[in-house]
């Protein structure tokens, strides 16, 4: 054991590098523009470096019998709970200005991810620095790479496209009722709006692959997230005073199929379908009736 006499700095540095890289790798912006660039990134990268430092010092501190320091690190880790609250507050405040709200489930999901990713970088840092400290740099390097790969698995969660088939669908009216295929969406009273919807509106159908998927897609939180991300993917032709152009997500009660109608700015049905496929499955919206005791 190289143990207590070895200098702790190489292992701390190794741990910090792995932890910070983990956080950086997990930071990714796409068409949803979240986290915001550049200042949202700066915030989260800085927090990630702090988390990596905390993770990196824990094993060397224990090895040096600095238990007070180790306890202090554990205490400092608590601070990252604030990250979730801060993200939630900031998103909830913006929610009122969103034309298509994310919904509480989505906001909570994003906040949870930001908190959890700091713990992930803390963990990878701890693994890398611990292995380096106790077993030498070769093992440390291997452990660092291994923990990075494990953490990378968290980068992309499950998506709607994984539980449902998403395809384009036709809009039509019966009297004043708008349908996407055979799913009833809403009643539109104004003739002008009906014409506009037929001309510019686009419809998508989601077919859940099993009962779990059906129950998940039926939750309000998941449906709101789909509407929000669809609007983020293709833009929204809607101004104040035109509630009939609000994107709607409705469930066919008999089949569990879900219909989406939206009036996009970017008139690309493939972008819309792909956007819907990539909507994250929200942790808090996930349902598993097939996993219940009597379901077999």
């Amino acid at each position: 054991m190289t143990g207590t006499e070895a200098s702790p700095y190489p292992s701390i540095l190794a741990g910090m590098a792995v932890g910070a890289f983990t956080r950086a790798y997990l930071l990714r912006a796409d068409f949803r523009i979240y986290p915001t660039y550049p200042h949202g990134w700066v915030t989260h990268l800085s927090l990630g470096v702090v988390a990596a430092l905390l993770g990196a010092v824990i094993v060397p501190a224990i090895a040096a019998r600095e238990f007070a320091a180790a306890a202090f690190v554990a205490l400092a880790a608590q601070q990252f709970r604030e990250v979730r609250a801060a993200e939630r507050d900031s998103l909830a405040a913006l929610e009122q200005m969103e034309r298509v709200a994310r919904g509480a489930d989505y906001v909570e999901g994003i906040a949870r991810v930001f908190e959890a990713r700091n713990y992930l970088s803390m963990l990878t840092a701890a693994v890398a620095s611990g292995a380096t400290h106790v077993l030498g740099w070769q093992v440390g390097l291997a452990a660092g790479i291994f923990s990075l790969l494990v953490a990378a698995g968290f980068r992309q969660g499950r998506q709607v496209g994984g539980i449902a088939d998403v395809r384009a669908a036709k809009l039509h009216f019966e009297e004043t009722l708008l349908f996407v295929d055979d799913i009833q969406m809403m009643a539109v009273g104004l003739q002008e709006s009906r014409r506009y919807l037929l001309r510019h509106g686009r419809g998508v159908i989601l077919e859940p692959r099993d009962l779990d998927a059906r129950a998940t897609l039926a939750t309000s939180g998941q449906r709101q997230a789909i509407a929000h991300d669809a609007a983020a993917a293709v833009g929204l032709r809607k101004d104040y005073g035109t509630p009939e152009f609000t994107p709607l997500v409705r469930v066919d009660l008999d089949t569990g199929r879900v219909g989406l109608v939206i009036v996009p700015i970017h008139n690309s049905i493939s972008a819309l379908v792909e956007g819907v496929r990539r909507v994250p499955l929200l942790e808090s919206a996930r349902r598993r009736p097939l996993g219940s005791a009597g379901a077999q």
Partner: protein, 61 residues
Amino acid sequence: MRESGSILAVVTLRPESVGGATPSFFARDEAERERLATYLSRILDAMVHDLENGTYILVRH
């Protein structure tokens, strides 16, 4: 998703078919009903629904 709504106004061709405290607007013909409903919809940010008995209601969802 809260799915309840409240009726903000009524536009009708048949005054005898509506009543109560909701502001009601009587239109002479379908074109006027359509126009009134459009104005009110934009002003109130409310959805227009056709009850198919000559009456439109404006609902905030």
